[in-house]
């Protein structure tokens, strides 16, 4: 029996070898250490989800990055760039494999993107050891504080909550109920919120985490919140869960009884249309809104709408800023002579970034110090939109 299989195995092995030999260059022995030669375009890896539940965030980030490139004739820092797209997928596993490919096979000079915090944690080692800068434009776990090559143009996961906590403690006359998706970002968000909320004398009714991503029916959680006697609710949900949560919050009669505060992701982008009128009156904290009044934002919104037909989200804006950061850094690093190391150094030396959200600067851990805004979902000219109510201060 065994001998019959021989030719098959050889055929399979040969076929595999043939298919793969195109990659060339051995890992051991082969002199593969050279940086990509100067003169050609700079390779930039764009690591965003193109499949799975986070695909729509990935689409926003891709569009935001492309808008910047289109505005600058596909040049960053005066050098032509080649963007290599990789699919982050849904899990830490798939994201890590994609990052591996960008760094080890495509040999990109710099990477941007990353939606999921788990992926961000999973690739820290990769970027730190291969000394390639990652300018992240969304995921930002609180634990990531001492990286040299990892930057984020977004925020830190606990900041939207922290920005909102003190305000809610002041506004709400009674206790606040916490409901959040049961994963690290949810925990971070609530922790951040409670930091400023407790300090301002806020009162907590209860703190409950709902299974993620398994929960589609929030009824039992909402029933408990409803009978708790709380005056307000602070939640953290994004994507599909945000849609279901907001609709059911309305359907089970909490709307109008219990004020709803949340991190801005709850009503950001496509989910708001899906939530419909149920979302009216929801208060959220975010670092950006498309209606901010400044010149750069006006041109960004116009270009983005022309490209996608949609209003830009914070995800698109952060990705646009990532391109901007790279533009500044590559120029400062000497344009065509720029390599990973010099770009990384140059990123750290950027003093301030003019952004559609307003001007921001780097914090000590490589995240923006920026103004936070309180937004309310309102009906504007027949469509639902987040509208900025007031500033929540700088974080």
């Amino acid at each position: 029996m065994r001998a019959r299989r021989t030719p098959i195995l050889i055929a399979v092995a040969a076929a595999t070898a043939l298919t793969l030999s195109a990659c060339g260059g051995g890992t051991l022995g082969g002199g593969d250490e050279e940086e990509a030669g100067s003169g050609g375009p700079i390779k930039i890896g764009l690591l965003v989800p193109q499949s799975g539940v986070y695909k729509s965030l990935g689409d926003d980030m891709k569009a935001g990055f492309e808008v910047y490139l289109e505005e600058h004739d596909n040049m960053l820092g005066g050098v032509e760039v080649e963007v290599i797209l990789a699919d982050e997928g849904e899990t830490a596993d798939s994201g890590k494999a994609a990052a591996d490919k960008l760094v080890k096979q495509d040999e990109v000079t710099v990477v941007t993107g990353v939606v999921s915090s788990a992926v961000m944690n999973g690739v820290v080692d990769l970027f730190e050891t291969s000394k390639i800068p990652l300018v992240g434009s969304n995921a930002s776990p609180t634990t990531l504080t001492d990286a040299t090559y990892i930057w984020r143009t977004s925020y830190v996961n606990d900041q939207p909550g922290e920005a909102l906590g003190a305000y809610v403690a002041e506004q709400v006359d009674g206790s606040v109920y916490f409901l959040a998706a049961d994963y690290q970002a949810g925990l971070d968000e609530v922790t951040g919120f409670k930091r400023s909320f407790d300090a301002a004398g806020g009162e907590t009714a209860d703190e409950v985490y709902t299974p993620f991503p398994g929960t589609t029916n929030f009824q039992p959680f909402l029933a408990n919140a409803n009978s708790s006697g709380a005056e307000a609710l602070f939640s953290f949900y994004a994507g599909g869960a945000a849609v279901e949560f907001v609709k059911q919050y309305d359907q089970f009669g909490l709307k109008g009884q219990i004020d709803h505060y949340s991190a801005g992701f709850l009503t950001e982008g496509g989910v708001l249309d899906a939530q419909g009128e149920s979302a009216l009156g929801t208060f959220t904290a975010m670092n950006y809104n498309f209606d901010l009044e400044n010149e750069l934002n006006a041109s960004f919104v116009e270009a983005y709408e022309a490209k996608t037909g949609l209003k830009p989200t914070t995800y698109a804006m952060a990705s646009y800023d990532a391109a901007h950061v790279l533009d500044l850094a590559i120029e400062a690093a000497g344009g065509e002579d720029a390599d990973s190391e010099s770009i990384n150094t140059a990123i750290g030396e950027i003093e301030k970034v003019e952004s559609p959200r307003g001007t921001w600067t780097w914090s000590e851990i490589g995240t923006p110090v920026q103004t936070w805004y309180l937004r309310e979902v309102q009906e504007v000219d027949g469509t639902l939109a987040n509208v900025v109510i007031q500033e929540l201060g700088e974080l």
């Binding site: 589609t216 029916n217 009824q219 039992p220 359907q251």
Partner: protein
């Protein structure tokens, strides 16, 4: 006691709605499994197809819902027929090959649906007459879920009667119990099998049309629905309508009342309940009489 009852009344009602929805999904899976001995891991895809149909066609009117139901029925029948034809060549090759094939099909179908409908969750509005909420014993509850309880009870009763009381049902039950015997009696069991597959698939798709306002269509929903129905089927006992109904109502309560009572253990309740039942009765609560 009455305070406890009052606090959790809505959860119990919702458990019934949720359970009945699970029944419409699980019963087809259970029969196809029990009868044809086919493990159909594309069953969740049928729900998703039905739910997307509802999203695409329902416009808040009764007519829209009716059209969606008819189209969903056709989609389900077609899907069931295609799946039955796809697994037919695998006769006698065991559950694993069926699992690989149907899971492969569901992966492909999921990708096609993302291409057609995008990657967002698409909440589907029920007919506007059913869209609000009403007060039930002082608790706000969505009208649609109440209506759903009514419709799904009717559906469950029809399925139960057709299966347990009609002559066609007797034939189906006989095929579950002893396929060879039925064949010896001159019945073309393949027709029975195709019929049951189509029926189960149609029920899942109709469940999707009716369930879309409760579990909205989106990427990953197929897998979630599949796992829930598998749990129901295994708890209830393969090939048993009564078992599927009981299992579905039990899981419905576990997922609503159970979660409301011990929210911090929510992620463990579903599979914990299943483990408990299987530890006590590995064949499920109502395994039909097969030697």
């Amino acid at each position: 006691m009455s305070g406890w009852f009052n606090a959790h009344f809505v959860s119990m009602v919702d458990g019934v709605a949720y359970g009945l929805l699970l029944f419409t999904l699980a019963v087809g899976l259970s029969l196809v499994f029990g009868m044809m001995d086919v493990l159909n891991l594309a069953h969740g895809t049928l729900y998703l197809a039905g739910a997307y149909t509802a999203y695409a066609l329902s416009d808040g009117s009764w007519l829209g819902l009716l059209i969606a139901l008819v189209v969903g029925l056709v989609v389900g029948l077609l899907g069931g027929g295609l799946l039955a034809a796809a697994v037919a060549p695998l006769q006698g090759r065991g559950h694993l090959d069926q699992a690989a094939l149907t899971l492969g099909i569901s992966l492909i179908a999921a990708e096609v649906m993302v291409m057609l409908f995008g990657a967002e969750v698409l909440p589907t509005a029920p007919p506007s007459a059913l869209s609000g909420s009403v007060s039930v014993l002082g608790h706000t509850y969505p009208v649609y879920r109440l209506a759903f309880i009514g419709i799904a009870t009717l559906l469950a009763a029809l399925v139960y009667l057709a299966f347990e009381r009609s002559s066609v049902g007797a034939l189906v039950r006989a095929t579950v119990a002893d396929r060879d015997m039925v064949r010896t009696m001159g019945v073309d069991t393949r027709k029975v099998l195709f019929g049951v597959f189509g029926f189960g698939a149609a029920l899942a798709a109709v469940g999707g049309v009716l369930g879309a306002p409760i579990i909205a269509p989106g990427p990953g929903i197929d897998e979630r629905v599949l796992v829930l129905s598998l749990v129901v089927v295994v708890i209830g006992g393969l090939g048993s309508v009564r078992g599927a109904l009981l299992g579905a109502l039990l899981i419905g309560q576990v997922q609503t009342l159970g979660v409301a009572l011990v929210p911090s253990y929510a992620p463990f309740l579903l599979f914990g309940a299943m483990l408990l039942v299987l530890a006590l009765r590995p064949q499920g609560l109502f395994a039909p009489g097969r030697a």
